[in-house]
Symmetry: C2
Subunit: 264 residues, 2 copies
């Protein structure tokens, strides 16, 4: 267990380097052709689940901290993270927070941390900034950190109860994503290289959390002219086989710039 | 000068109550029929301009802090504030920040503050959360606080050099507003009760920072069906007089819910 203990000692030592009062939590969304999922950490020593999160070093920017934290806690690298909201309510510090603090302090004590300053620091108020990312979950290989038993993709409609206000952070990230659908194309980082219009529709339905009408959806999407039509997907009867598409990266990126919302 | 000194003493005393490492800055936009303006504070004792900003008390939420700060610093009340971005770069702490700290410490020392803890606290790193508001500047009567000589509406294309990264905070707020035009109607809190389509166009042009084509703009706006057409604006020749409009509040609010962006 030397590795774990050293890591915990490192963590305690790092507290001196952290900016007080601020933390970061990452909501990493992936899509597995049916469901929108979020990357969660399952604690090693207590019954608890959380978003990959952490603190900001005095010497690093908040964006740098977000990338370091996501890497340290899940092994993920080169992820495009978007800041979406900063959570500063006092009700973050309700009974659920107190329970979380008790568990955290117990974990730290079990690992030999008795330093009062560290144990109190953990219990202080933090304003947390949420970052979200959209990733192709087939291409990522998340790994749990030393505090965690597992690092798993969990469907957003099957989330367990998360620590503090992390369920609310996921809900807010999803709301932000829904709003983005009003003015930005989406999908290039969530879908495989080849997909059917039905695959795309399932992604939008998973984010909007409502069914969409097939022909209307396809007509509107194809009108965006960001797709390359490929061969038919040969699975069943040839006459019913849907076309496969890929994104036209150049046109997709142009549309990211221009937007698909109301224009003046 | 007793009032000022007492206020400064209160401020110093309040530092104990503040959450470390976090601050708030407010970008209040107003429109005066020609130009988009921002509410700025001009310092009393030094050549400096800033956004109305301040710190978060341990007992209050970030939203509550934003409202209290805006009220304390400008006298404005019941303003609808929207959180738009949290600024956590380390380059906030460049030469401009050092200059700002020197000025702040000088102001405090001149007011009799010698407490090292206070002077150092002011110089520490803060992550600041930006809030923006859209107000009818004819209805507001901003008042400078005890640190400020004046509280003024300044056109966004005529901003002075502001402290720290406040110019960047204004630019980011404006970018956020531009993005919102892709999916939300705007204007109800910025325009007078009666306005012409040309007034509305000027507002959009001020936010988008580019000229728009008149007939296209009018056609698209009228299609939103959120206006009530009133009498003609009688200023010159009757045949050229434009119609006045007001917002149909109910329909406007419905559209705020539904959005005007890309729908699925």
């Amino acid at each position: 267990m030397l590795k774990t203990d050293q890591s915990v000692l490192d963590f305690v030592d790092e507290i001196k380097e952290y900016l007080p009062g601020n933390s970061i939590d990452c909501v990493v969304f992936g899509f597995d052709a049916q469901k929108l999922k979020v990357l969660l950490l399952e604690w090693k020593d207590e019954e608890a689940w959380c978003l990959p999160g952490g603190f900001i070093k005095n010497t690093e920017s908040m964006d740098e901290a977000a990338h370091r934290i996501l890497h340290q806690r899940t092994g993920l690298n080169s992820i495009f993270l978007n800041q979406f909201f900063t959570f500063g309510n006092t009700d973050r510090y309700g009974p659920k927070f107190k329970d979380h603090i008790k568990k955290t302090q117990k974990v730290l004590r079990n690992k030999g941390v008795s330093d009062k300053k560290t144990l109190n620091w953990i219990a202080s108020r933090f304003i947390t900034t949420g970052y979200f990312a959209l990733v192709d979950l087939r291409k990522t290989h998340p790994q749990p950190d030393f505090f965690s038993k597992s690092c798993q993709w969990i469907a957003i409609d099957e989330l367990p109860s998360l620590i503090i206000d992390h369920n609310n952070i996921v809900v807010t990230a999803l709301e932000h994503l829904k709003v983005q659908l009003n003015y930005l194309p989406i999908g290039i980082s969530l879908l495989p290289a080849k997909f059917t219009m039905q695959d795309l529709q399932k992604l939008y339905e998973a984010i909007l959390q409502k069914p969409l009408e097939r022909s209307n959806f396809q007509r509107k999407m194809l009108k965006l002219e960001i797709f390359i039509r490929l061969e038919k997907q040969m699975t069943g009867a040839a006459n019913k086989a849907p076309y496969l598409y890929s994104f036209d990266t150049e046109k997709y990126n142009q549309l990211l710039e221009k937007g698909i919302g109301f224009t003046y």
